[in-house]
Structures are given as C-alpha cells and as structure tokens.
C-alpha cells in the first residue's frame, strides 16, 4: 500500500511498514452510555404512549444522554482523524462500513415501499372487488374507485389525496439540485478549491433546509385543509410513513452536512483524505434517490 501523506508519516514515526498496523482504539465508555441513553429513550416512549406521566421525562433524559454521547464520540473520531490515527487501511473500513449501513437503510425503506405496493395492488383492490370473476363486492360504492381515492379504505374518513405537481415537484427539483451542488463541492475539494467547496456545501445545506420547510408546510396543509392524516386509510398511513421517515433522514443528512461544513470551514479534509465528506455525500445521494422513488410511487402514480 503506497504511502501518500507526508503529514501523516510525521505523526507516525514509522516502525510499521505501511498497511501493517491497524488502529484499534482505546477502551471507551461511549458505547455503553449510548446504549443506556437508548434504553431510557425507548422506555420513556413506551410509557409515554401508554399515558404514564413519567414517560416524557424519561424520554427527555434519554435524548440528552444520546445527544451528549454522540457529540463526544464523533468529536473523538474527528480528533483521531486530525491527529493522524487513520491511514488508508482504516479509511477503507469506514468506507465499507458506511456502504453497508446505507444498504441497511435501503432495506428499511423497502419495507414501507413493499407495504405500499401490497396495499395498492393486493389489499385495496381485493377489498373493493372481493371476487372479481363473480363481480361481487361488499362495498359497491367503491367499485370503480382508483388509487389514491380508494386508499381510504371501505370505512375510512374522507380526504383529498396529495397532488404531485405542486410542492412535491418543487421539492424534487430542490433535492436534485442539492445532489448537484454537493458533487460540485466534492469536485472543488479534489481540486483544493476551498471557496467553491464551502459555497457548494452551504448551498446544499440551504436546499435541504428549504426542502424541509416545504415539507413541513405540506404536512400542515394536509392536516388542516385536505383531511389527509395518518388515520386517512392506508393512503394516509403509507403517505405519512414514507414521507415522514424520508423527512427524518433528510433532517439527519442536513445535520451531517452542517458538521462537515463546520469542519471544512476549519480547514479539515484534503484532496486525498476526506472520508467523512464522502460518507455524508453518499448518504445525501441515498436520501435523494429515496425521494425520487417517493415522488414517483407516492405522489405521482
């Protein structure tokens, strides 16, 4: 494995030939505390949903623990990275790790897309026609109804489905351009053009935030004017579950982008070594692709 970085070499007086020494971190209490925080959050949420007063306080405590540990843990990793603990070998581990993490996220979304496919193609048509060959239905008033209007189900509440060509189309444009701006920023990093890098990242974050703003407005509109709620049959259920989890991922991605932006402003990353930047960019592209799926399957078709 070729050694490319003089800077790293100086912090590693090399009695190790490159590629023979793998960085195994010191013992750390972060994982244990993080698990404890997650326990509190889960416990609190369960109690909260079952109307125990203590629930929200326990949730709050859990969230506090989680945030504190996450900030410290990532701080530690950034410190290790800046002080040269990671070389190509470790870098590759992070890359593999991020790819497989994103794939697990893909599987998570697949569950909801699968549910959408199932209700649209199987359960709703079945309920509407029961036995197609015998032309028999329990719910005559639904017989010729097409998705999305039929998505309220036989006993569902009335609602207006969300159209595709208003805010969702704008949001598609926003996210697609944010995919372009982050690539633009990446090119800048490769050319060592820091101004373009920072600008590109800033634009990406801005587009992400505007996207979230629009989505917030869309939800408000759905609840107050369209009668479209989580309870609005399977249409409402799949709509809010898919767009909601996507929005949550955009939020996470935006926070990750902000961290990367802060690091760029501090002058972190070089043209050769910037896993964190690329990891976040991959994540952002993943969120982008999921949105395309949503736009087509949830809003458009």
């Amino acid at each position: 494995m070729a050694q490319t970085h003089a800077a790293i070499e100086t912090t590693h007086p090399s009695d190790h030939p490159p590629g023979t020494h793998y960085f195994v971190p010191q013992p750390s209490l972060y994982p244990f505390i993080l698990s404890g925080g997650m326990f509190l959050l889960a416990l609190g949420f369960i109690l909260f949903m079952n109307k125990f007063a203590a629930g929200s306080w326990i949730m709050l405590a859990g969230t506090g623990v989680i945030l504190t540990v996450v900030v410290r843990w990532f701080g530690r990793i950034i410190h290790e990275s800046q002080t040269g603990s990671y070389r190509e070998w470790e870098d590759k581990s992070f890359r593999y790790g991020m790819i497989w993490f994103i794939l697990s996220e893909v599987a998570f979304f697949a569950a909801f897309f699968g549910a959408l496919f199932y209700v649209r193609n199987i359960s709703v048509p079945d309920l509407l026609t029961m036995l197609p060959r015998h032309d028999f239905t329990l719910y005559p008033e639904y017989k010729d109804l097409l998705w999305p209007a039929s998505g309220g189900g036989p006993k569902g509440i009335a609602f207006t489905p969300m159209g595709a060509w208003g805010i969702p189309a704008i949001n598609t444009a926003l996210l697609l351009s944010s995919g372009a701006t982050i690539t633009w920023a990446h090119w800048a990093l490769l050319k060592n053009n820091r101004t373009q890098l920072n600008l590109g990242l800033f634009l990406t974050i801005a587009l992400g935030v505007v996207f979230l703003g629009f989505q917030g407005y869309e939800y408000y509109h759905a609840y107050t004017e369209l009668g479209l709620t989580m309870g609005a049959g399977v249409y409402g259920a799949t709509f809010f579950m898919l767009t909601g989890f996507h929005g949550f991922h955009v939020t996470l991605g935006t926070i990750m982008l902000m961290v990367i932006y802060g690091r760029c402003l501090k002058g972190h990353f070089t043209a050769n070594r910037h896993f964190a930047f690329e990891g976040v960019a991959w994540y952002w592209h993943f969120v982008d692709v999921v949105w395309l799926g949503l736009f087509i399957m949830v809003y458009w078709l």
Partner: protein, 540 residues
Amino acid sequence: MSHATTAPHETHHDAHYPGGIMRWLTTTNHKDIGSMYLTFALIMFFVGGAMILAVRAELFQPGLQLMQPEFFNQLIGIHALVMIFAALMPAATGFANWQIPLMIGAPDMALPRINNWGFWLLPPAAILLTLPFLLAVFGIGDGALNTGWTMYAPLSVQGGIGVDFAIFSIHILGISSILGSINVIVTIFNLRAPGMTMMKLPIFCWGWLITAFLLIATIPVLAGAVTMLLTDRHFGTHFFNAAGGGDPILFQHLFWFFGHPEVYILLLPVWGLMPHVLATFSRKPMYGYKAQVYSFIAIGLLSVVVWAHHFFTAGLPVPALLYFMYSTMAISLPLAVLFFCWIATMWKGAMSFETPMLFAQGFIIMFGVAGLTGLVLADVAADAQYHHSYFVIAHFHYALFAGGIMGVMTGVYYWLPKWTGYMYDEKLGKLHFWLTVISFNLTFMPQFFLGLAGMPRRIPDYALQFTEFNAISTVGAMILGFSQLIFAWNIWKCARGHANGLAPAEGRAWEGATGLEWELSSPPPHHSWEVQPDLRQPGA
C-alpha cells in the same frame, strides 16, 4: 509473534487498560467482546429455558394446573424471542468476534468501538423484553407480549403494553445485529491477511458473511413491520386494518420476509463451523469447500424468496401457493449438497469422537430430520393439516435446537481450549452430550406424533388423547433443561482451568486442526495478529 513498537497508539501498553468492571464496559478488544456475547447468550439460554420448562410443566397433564392462559401465552412468546435473539444470535456473534480475527489473521475486528456498542445494546433489549413481567407484578400493565413471537396483527394491534416493550426490544436488538453484521463484513473484506483470497477464506467466515448479508437485508424490514404495528397501535394508521384498506396478512408477509431468512441467519454460522470440526476429527481436509461456499450463497439468495410457506393457510392465491411451495423445496437442494460434503469429509477419515465431534454427529443426524420434515411442511396440500400444530414445533426445534444450539455447543467445545488455554473436562462433555441428545429426542420426537394426531400449538390445555405423549415430552424437557447445567459447569471449570487442575491446551489444541487460529498460542495473545501473517505464494 515478536512485535515491537513505539507508535503513539497506546493500545499496546496493557497498563492503560481499566480493570474490574470497567474493563468489560469499555473494552474494544474482540476477545473480550466475544466472551461477553457468549456469556450473555448462556445466561439468556437459561432464562429462556426456565420459561419453557414452566410451560412444559403446565402441559404435563391436560387441564390448567399452574397458570392461566394469559400467562402461558406470555411465556411462549418471550421464550422464543429470548432464545432466538438473546441466546442463539448473540452466541453466533460471540463466535464471530472470537474467531474471525484469529482465522483471517487480523489484529482485531475492523470497528472495535461499534463492536462494543453492538454488545451493550443487548442487555437493555433483554430488559425491555422481560420487564413487563415484573411490572405486572406491581400492577402496571398486563404483562409481557402475549401474541407468540410472530406478533401477528390484529391480535398484536389490540394487545397491551407488553407489545410495545417487545417492539422496542426488537428495534434495539435489530440495531445490535446490524452493527455486528457491518463489523463482520468490513473485517472480512478489509482485514484479511495478505494472500488470503476470498476463495481461501475459512469456511466459518463465509458462513458468517452470508449471515451478515441476510441480516442487513432483512432486519430493517422487521423493524419497518413493527414500526407499522406501533403506529397502528398508537397513531391511528391502518396498515393492518381492513376497515382502512389495510390487511392483517400484510404483517405476515413482512414478518416472514424477515422470519424465514432468520432461520438461515441462525444456522449459517453453524454450517460454517461444522466442516472445520468434521475435518479436524476426521484428520482429513474438508471436502467440497467450493461447493459449500456456493451452497451458502444459493441458500442465502433463495431464503429471501420463499417466506410465504409460513402462511400457506392464510388464503393466498393458488399460483402464489405453487410458487412458494416449489421455491421452498428448492432450498433442500443446496442444503443436501452441504450434507453430502459433511459426510464426504468424514468418509474414510481417521475419526475420533471427542465431545465436539459427538455434537457434530448429533447435529448432522437430527438436523437431517429437521430438513426432511421441512419438506413435508413445504407441501401445500399436506401443510393444511400440519400448520399450527405440534408438528411445526417439533420441526423447528430439530432445526433450531439440534441444528442451532447443538451446533453452537459443537463450536464451544471445539474452541474452548483455544479461548481458555485449558482442555475442558472430556468426561463431563460426553455426559452432557448423551444427556442432551437423548432427552432432546425424548422431548421433541413425541411432538411430531402429537402434531400428526392434531394437537394445535400455543394452547395451555389439550384433549385427553394427547396426554401420554405430552407427559413424555415434559419429562424429556426437564432432563434436557437440567442437563445444560453440566454445560455451564464445564465451561466455568474450563475458564478457571488452572484452579481446577485441568491440562493446559497447546496452540494447536486438536491434533488434526488446521488454520491460522491454531498457530497462535492458547489462549491467544491480547492482540491476536499484530503483524499479519503473509500467505502470499513466495515469488507471486
């Protein structure tokens, strides 16, 4: 392994390691973490076992003896979840942690802190799963999950607080599995010794690799399913409610999309370790390495497209029934390849029957029973009769106890000398094996006949004609349960081998054992392969 360094990685100075409990809370060492996984698995094995012994005691006679049906239902569901998620899976992850770095010549797992996190998520999840039992004692809620481990809607939509606890327990267990899987994949891809190509990878690592792929593909789907369950319960959605256009069967699809691959997730690590054991005690190279690797891959791929065989009777259209029947049966082809390779590995070998080899034999025979009865269940026409009967219970206990747990025991006895540095007590090991294998069959063989005769699963009371076989099964279960104390005692004894006057194990603890892990001392040094062994062909 001579090793000298002055690099600023302070990981070499053992003086920096915290002692006592802090060692275990903070460790980033794959061996420590592996030991924690295995210990946790053993403890939970007894917790889950105690639950089911109570169930068997209730089933000793017809009529309600010891408990009310509500409590019975909680015990069976939590038993299954504990055994699958908190005993068998952590045991396999413990193996992965201990063995993969040793076998591929790596210094540690690739992401050590994530590794520690993966373990420490387990105790909170186990607490969440069992806490409702305790809460009910204090009058809070109505006990643990009472739907059986499959959590079918609509029952689970209507259930009490125990369902919520189970949902979040599953979420946390799932995160832990994903972290463990990522670690395994990254370690195998990135930390192999130079010259160890993928087709030279020890087959145990291949088994785990496929397991990890399956976990990453299916655990998130389960997470999605229980999330929909949660929103149906508390946030007014209608995923599993026909009134809003949803469908309870959707839950079954989602659950078994995870659930069927899960059975291979539980077994692939065992199929991976089996050839090593068979080769060692037959003193022959393993037969058909490539065929086995390709079979693993084939089984991995097939396992995600056969899920609906778990609900043939739910009212699927006929073409779907046929498809799921034939695809399920197709899995027995690569499975049969594995069986033939195992047998061929032993063929004309100089076999000896130490405890691991005994367990391996028990595994092969009884796991064969699981596969063959699986084929019976896969037949749509026959399954209408057997579904939801004790026949299914017997089938999957031959798969998961005789296949999974006894496979894990094979591995534990095989590697215990490597881990502890001492030879375990062979006499106790053999006693444990014979008690286990006899009482296991005593417990589960009658259940096949009960199922064939029509006894449904998941009931605390039954018709009089089922009495004798249930009594036999309960006696078997009691022996089976208590025999496992020998296992625990044997491990404990070996772990303190010095105090117990056991013989120290050599680096190559078994005469016929081959592979990198046996080239290290027993127990291996704190940092296994600080300098990677170089397996490249000279001159290549």
